[in-house]
Point group: C3
Chain length 465, copies 3
Amino acid sequence: MRLAPSPDRLLPADPATRALARTLYESVREAPILSPHGHVEAALLRDDQAFTDPADLLIVPDHYVLRLLHAHGLDLDELGRGSSQIEPREIWRRFATHWHVFAGTPVRAWFEDTLHSVIGLDEHPSAANADAQFDAIAAWIAEDGSRPRALFDRFDIEVLATTDDPAAPLDAHAALREDTSFTGRVVPTFRPDRFFDPSAAGWRGALDELHAVSGIDTGTAAGLIRALEDRRAHFRSLGATATDSGVVDAWATRLSAGELERIHRAGLTGEATDADAAAYRRHMLWEMARMSSEDGLVMQLHPGVLRGHHRPTTERFGPDTGHDLPLFSRYTEPLRELLGDFGTNETFRLVLFTVDETSFTREIAPLAGFYPSVFAGAPWWFLDSPDGIRRFREGVTDSAGFYKTSGFIDDTRAYLSIPARHDVSRRVDAGWLATLVVTGRLGEEEAHTIAHDLVDTIPRSVFRL
Amino acid sequence: MRLAPSPDRLLPADPATRALARTLYESVREAPILSPHGHVEAALLRDDQAFTDPADLLIVPDHYVLRLLHAHGLDLDELGRGSSQIEPREIWRRFATHWHVFAGTPVRAWFEDTLHSVIGLDEHPSAANADAQFDAIAAWIAEDGSRPRALFDRFDIEVLATTDDPAAPLDAHAALREDTSFTGRVVPTFRPDRFFDPSAAGWRGALDELHAVSGIDTGTAAGLIRALEDRRAHFRSLGATATDSGVVDAWATRLSAGELERIHRAGLTGEATDADAAAYRRHMLWEMARMSSEDGLVMQLHPGVLRGHHRPTTERFGPDTGHDLPLFSRYTEPLRELLGDFGTNETFRLVLFTVDETSFTREIAPLAGFYPSVFAGAPWWFLDSPDGIRRFREGVTDSAGFYKTSGFIDDTRAYLSIPARHDVSRRVDAGWLATLVVTGRLGEEEAHTIAHDLVDTIPRSVFRL
Amino acid sequence: MRLAPSPDRLLPADPATRALARTLYESVREAPILSPHGHVEAALLRDDQAFTDPADLLIVPDHYVLRLLHAHGLDLDELGRGSSQIEPREIWRRFATHWHVFAGTPVRAWFEDTLHSVIGLDEHPSAANADAQFDAIAAWIAEDGSRPRALFDRFDIEVLATTDDPAAPLDAHAALREDTSFTGRVVPTFRPDRFFDPSAAGWRGALDELHAVSGIDTGTAAGLIRALEDRRAHFRSLGATATDSGVVDAWATRLSAGELERIHRAGLTGEATDADAAAYRRHMLWEMARMSSEDGLVMQLHPGVLRGHHRPTTERFGPDTGHDLPLFSRYTEPLRELLGDFGTNETFRLVLFTVDETSFTREIAPLAGFYPSVFAGAPWWFLDSPDGIRRFREGVTDSAGFYKTSGFIDDTRAYLSIPARHDVSRRVDAGWLATLVVTGRLGEEEAHTIAHDLVDTIPRSVFRL
């Protein structure tokens, strides 16, 4: 089957609306990419090595792809995870013979665009062409123009934010800043989640790492807080403008100093209960807001995901293997204390994401429509699809307009898919703006201004880029 | 930018559907306005004074407008709230320079229509024309035809329901009924919420006021209930057909007489706990249903709003300042006891509203599709937008059809916006009906009948007007 | 009003999309009906008697129809329920005069198609034609071609699954298998819900029945489990491929053997608490999964309905009288233990249904998109409507594609409506596929393949037909 993505893809079906949407889309199609949240590693760009092979480039690390193959009966070690010794070519064959299972999904849309526009293939993957496509991709990988830095330029990425542990040395970020041959902007993002769970097996080790890198004793909660503050300053010195937290819920409630230290000690002696751990995490989330209100790092909140739902798979294959699953999520009550303390602080900024789209209309947009500090984050993860983006605009615009939304984030570790993901967002937003014009809710000129602001002014401003 | 709202605004984009929608809309465009729920004061019409100034008319009292300006960094005292001494012209300038933040919102749609169709402006507000528009509106205000009663006629309002405290004397309502020069119908609505929270600071004072106006001792719960019954009769004598409750959740569960009186006493001595207060409120909601099943006042329920989310703002600026926020809301279980007792009572009528639109399809429409007493209330507050109204119809019609919905309510204190709000509803309903016809789900003739019933027969019947 | 359903009904309004949707629909319009979940009785086909009368055929047993008539003030005994002696003709008259209350609902769409395509009427029901239509339907009933088996052939039903109690003898199923004059396939479905509530009045009697039919002592939980296993084998011997559970929530969590037996004993002595009953049910749901992972019966889960909301109606008229109502429903956490134990078992298969559509996007599709055993069930009950089906596809396809959905189930006891219900599903799916093609998300050839798979390959495979 011929692979030739339609130039009008994802634009509304109605001809008049589509014509206008096309114009709006064309006006932002080539705007530089601002990627203020994602999971590409800075080392990829520092090292600028050729990618390993087609499977490692496009399939093995991408849990969006793996999960649906797994759902169709492929074991993860058949797909290159764990201690599997399977050949990359075999992995690609499995993927190619299961191409139909992605029909209609955003993964399919990103993949088509990547295969066609980035790599230059002209057929849909299939059992018949699996070997030929594998070879073609391998040949493409070997080209100079396919190395990470060349693609960074080709993709026209202006800013790329990574996601990093507070104890990370950030060597790659430092190296990139000093490397005059690389002119792109790659900035770290401070993600302290693993320090927030005193009941977790790895917590004490994490405290030790943080102690080592900061020189600050993390044996007390007060010490941990000081060490986190210290590392935030380090992140800022290397260009960070934001933090991120992927907590299980959005509750942020303060503990007394005594109670906080009690739980910290219980964590050190392996005696912290689940209730202790939740209380500690919720306090630490409040601390993150307090710190952001002082140092100006934009606070991103990505709550509501139950990580590692299928324990046997986590044990065999580790995290990020496709069974992190969405939870019902609330924001209005959980964030009341935090917003009471910092919500009108001019330095503070909070971008709220969700995997429970009912919360966009019900809670996130109404919060963003009152608090100057709060912005509605772009549709994320399970919601980052053409229909998800359209429903986001439809649900959020009523209460928050366009200028209290965050602009698109790609949130991806699939480097090659970055342009495709931003392109989907630009197309769907153009379609939504066109719909507003055609139904008399917006002027055409305004729509052009907003289309531009959504990919430029707004993310620059919201993420303080 | 020229302000010229499209005559086809909010109608579907598809040309055939739009053509039919236009016909349906035209057939109800000029139907008289029935406004069975809102927050305009009866005194406005009794006194019939000219409005104060453009800011006071259009901005300062409207928390829909204030909230989004606040979200963009304007302090509420810059917008005329609190003890602010800011000039009305300055307020208008701030509003005009932030006009773009409303793009795509229903506030913008209402405002455009009001400025254009009611006041006669022909440009969008902007920094450049702020002073000129302020002056033009001020001049318009000064005209005889711009006074409340003249507008009442011009807007073709047939019935306007206000919202009133049980202790209110309702002087303005009485005066209007006796004033032969005013032929409109303005009726009070009984809203007893502040009597339901024995833990609130103002509760004892409220009881005293009710005692004073009714002559009934409110020192016991039984006395309070009798006093409320007495006041309902007074409201009915002045034309009331409905009550309203804005409780935080929909639970309505009966207490024993002993427990009820215990909590009442605890309230009087300042010892009512949060749990006491919730139990008391839920009992009183049950009592409201019991009274409605006896006196026939239509019971409106507007649950699920957390009032005054940002405590510092409430302390500085009071209630209704833009940070009442939606909560996740349930109805099926909370209302089971109440509907078990009164759900098939022929006198009883309950209109269920929500700010959590997921409850429309899941709970409200299914309840309205079985209980003869229950009606699905129109989209309210955060959901009162073109897309919100369309989603309401799409989600509610399946289980409840058209004839178990309430008809539109504007719920506004922005007097000038009343026609614009009803017009949006009429347009979107016309579009939905046209969609049903074009997709073969409804005959064209039927669609015309339903379009008429939605603005006339249905609200008249549901609210017993 | 003339009754002439449009051949293009339920297809998208946009002309280009509609043209393609029509082609897709035409390609599956006449595909045989696979009905893997429903409530028609096997005895209907064994006995092959003429239907009683128009009211009994189309109104009295159908709680979808009754509920909305009841919501408009008709008492259920006016509609033939309870010990009512009302004439069938009178029931039809009531229905006909209330025809408008169904406008826009799926009941209306099914009814129109049934009256027109199955019975051959050419007018909408009305007060004026009520008697004539009643007579015409009665005459139609008397024809040979209107008997159940003739209709089975005419409807081109290939497989019809019934829903049956574990203690049921399944005589009718056995008779149909032995009757060489009947070539259709009618299979039982194992629905053990009434054995899961040790606090219910009928539980001990149910245990006795199961003891009698299986010969296994059900005086212990272990015995009950063995007896259920025994009956599953019997169901399988008569063609069953699936089980079903209509539990109030999806929690499935294992108890210790001691605790399980303690609750069983408490049930026998009438001392089981509500908490006991919930724990027992949740354990038994886990057991059902365990059994399915061994015997391969497909496990269907239909949670989230509060049965018999209006107790006075249940007391007067029994179950299935229109006031079973949806509850907010979750799946991610409730099913974690069950899926940890059986989620990757190759024999196990779990089809998840919901009446809370927010769970499709948030939980069901993400679960189906990882677990090989999990499939997203078709929109069910309150969600089985043109818009409900479209929203299902829109919300579920992103995470689960098409091939982790179940195919349509009609879930009906209204035998005559089976073709109409499948037809609605085929039309809406054709429209959705056409939308994907027109917006560049799917190739036209692929869309044809998927349209076919949705009505054939997929339900055959998912339900192991």
